[in-house]
């Protein structure tokens, strides 16, 4: 049987007649979980989230319950909750759906989380280009405040927490949580060095702060609703819950697809859910988790041992869509943003496009990233301008290795990994550019740089 979606977070979003207003949300059972949660102790809720084994959906996949466990309550300082809605990883558009189509689900998840961590104030940091999204969320906050679901004395519980929508202004680095905090403090988004600046200890205004992704906070609502242990039964061990995958690129039915972690494979996603490639085209490469994740060559086989010691031998189509499997194949699931490239793609050109992105987005704080991203961009741009050299593949590789591991934040890796992996996995194409043996691009393929 062809693989199918199992929607939890997106259960109602695309149903005809489902609207983002609070009336519609309440009609569908909305805010009942918040009422239930407010009757429990905050530490009980935190335990449920630990039991649920939810992993962060923003990119790093860090367990949410563990993150919450780092909060320094002894300091006596106010605690802040920030929803990271700065969705900017190229290929990712899942949080947009959740915020635009079902904003109250996010608000409910946030207020449950805020109560669980005893936050004094909560923020939604939304990217500046989502003009309508900010309006939808502000409207939703007004509605929820009017009904007593946020603000003062929430549902008569005595707990109070307000919420602010804060718009970014076009900088990718604000997706990095300490960069986001700097930005929210009214500064340039220069990420902070960790240690000592772990947000749960020294976050916003040097107070304990939790930054969670939109999708993660929506999951909190469902985990509390069904109970953490029950939630952990969805998906596979260590990869719990459903996940929304964004699919784009050379594919018949691009879009967002939700199913339990590990529930289907890359091949099922591409061919069953997304209707396969364009007619007459062959799969060449897949970026599995946003452009920061290492590219996978469709011709390769992936072998090794799983965590429990079971050997695996996968083609690209066999890879289960969860957190751990992509680490096993030398990449990462990142923000679950699959970019499909067929055999009409010039891989040097695709990398040139990606390198232009990271050169534009490096915040400039650390020298290896600031300089390295510009150099990688210059090299791939020059290669595309017809001036490729035989040494470029090695040069690019060497620059990339001098960035990763040498920067304050993960932007270094995010920028270096595409170059490292494109050169590793498509080396012949990089060499062919220099020797003049590169095969011509089909006329149907668009320019990428």
């Amino acid at each position: 049987m062809a693989a199918q979606e199992t929607r939890m977070l997106l259960k109602y979003t695309d149903e005809p007649g489902y609207t983002p207003d609070i009336g519609c949300y309440i009609k569908h059972g909305g805010y009942e979980t918040l009422k239930k949660a407010l009757k429990l102790k905050p530490e009980e809720l935190r335990q449920e989230i630990k039991d649920s084994e939810i992993r962060g959906r923003g990119g790093a996949g860090f367990p949410t319950g563990v993150k919450w466990g780092f909060i320094d309550y002894k300091s006596g300082k106010p605690v802040y909750l920030i929803c990271n809605a700065d969705e900017s990883e190229p290929g990712t558009f899942k949080d947009r759906q959740l915020m635009y189509k079902d904003p109250h689900q996010l608000l409910e998840g946030m207020m449950i989380s805020a109560y669980a961590i005893q936050a004094k104030l909560s923020f939604i940091y939304i990217r500046g280009e989502m003009f309508r999204g900010a309006k939808i969320l502000e409207q939703a906050i007004e509605e929820a405040r009017a009904k007593g679901f946020l603000g003062d004395n929430i549902c008569g519980s005595g707990y109070s927490c307000d919420m602010l929508v804060h718009r970014g202004a076009g900088a990718y680095i604000c997706g990095e949580e300490t960069g986001l905090i700097e930005s929210l403090e009214g500064k340039r988004a220069y990420p902070r060095i960790k240690p000592p600046y772990f947000p749960a200890v020294f976050g916003l205004y040097q107070c304990p702060t939790i930054v969670n992704n939109v999708e993660t906070l929506c999951h909190v609502k469902h985990a509390i609703d069904m109970g953490g242990k029950e939630f952990a039964k969805i998906g596979t061990p260590g990869n719990t819950g459903t996940r929304i995958w964004s699919v784009s690129g050379h594919i018949q039915k691009p879009g967002y697809y939700e199913f339990p972690c590990g529930g289907i494979t890359m091949g099922e996603l591409i061919y069953d859910l997304c209707g396969g490639l364009y007619p007459g085209r062959k799969l060449k490469a897949v970026i599995p988790g946003g452009t920061s994740s290492k590219v996978l060559n469709a011709e390769d086989r992936y072998t090794g041992k799983l965590k429990d010691g079971t050997p695996f031998d996968w083609s690209i189509n066999d890879i289960p869509l969860d957190f751990d499997s992509f680490v096993h194949v030398g990449s990462m699931s990142g923000s679950a943003a699959v970019i499909v490239m067929d055999d009409s793609t010039d891989m040097v050109e695709a990398l040139a496009n990606i390198n232009a992105f990271y050169a534009h987005e490096s915040c400039g704080q650390c020298t290896p990233c600031r300089e390295g991203c510009l150099w990688m961009n210059k090299i791939t741009s020059r290669m595309m301008a017809g001036n490729a050299k035989e040494t470029d593949a090695d040069l690019l590789h060497s620059v990339s290795l001098q960035i990763s591991g040498r920067t304050i934040c993960a932007h270094g890796e995010a920028a270096a990994w595409p170059t490292e992996s494109f050169v590793d996995k498509f080396r012949d194409e990089f060499l062919a550019k220099a020797s003049g043996n590169a095969s011509a691009k089909p006329e149907s393929a668009y320019r990428l740089i």
Binding site: G91, E129, A169, Y172, A189, P254, I287, A337, A350
Partner: protein
Amino acid sequence: MNLKPETLKKIETVIPRYPERRSALLPVLHLVQEDQGYISKEAMEWIAEQVGVEPIHVYELVTFYPMLRETPAGKKQIRVCRTLSCALAGSYKVCEIFQKRLGAPLNGVSDDGEYSVEFVECLASCGTAPAVLVDDKLYENVTPERTENFIKEHVCPNARPQQPAAEAVEGGEN
């Protein structure tokens, strides 16, 4: 600098909502830019005073955040997503058509000040690529084939081929 009364009112409301005034810098900058079209030196000094920081602390934000501008955009602002998924779907071609039809160079303004055409990085709409922002409104699936009609419908009903736009500036970062 003459801000509209409603802008001033919004600024007065937004600053005290934050635990620390400096946090209101981005929201205030957005409000001033919406009102004035860009952030002038005079505006930076005024904002610094409102929030209680030095003007340099405002200036460093204006130069850091790509959405903030020191010069006015065209009356209609076209922002085409440049990043991979949109490029795979033809966004370079789309951007080229906008430039030619509206007479604006890449990342510049048309001579009559009416239009600006810019490339921006990933707009988080990759499943409906290419994505284009016209002012504050997002449009999806603006393919090269659809762009001519799109311009007539949503940008400029009388668009006609003008002088070819000036040569595109590649890799502005270099």
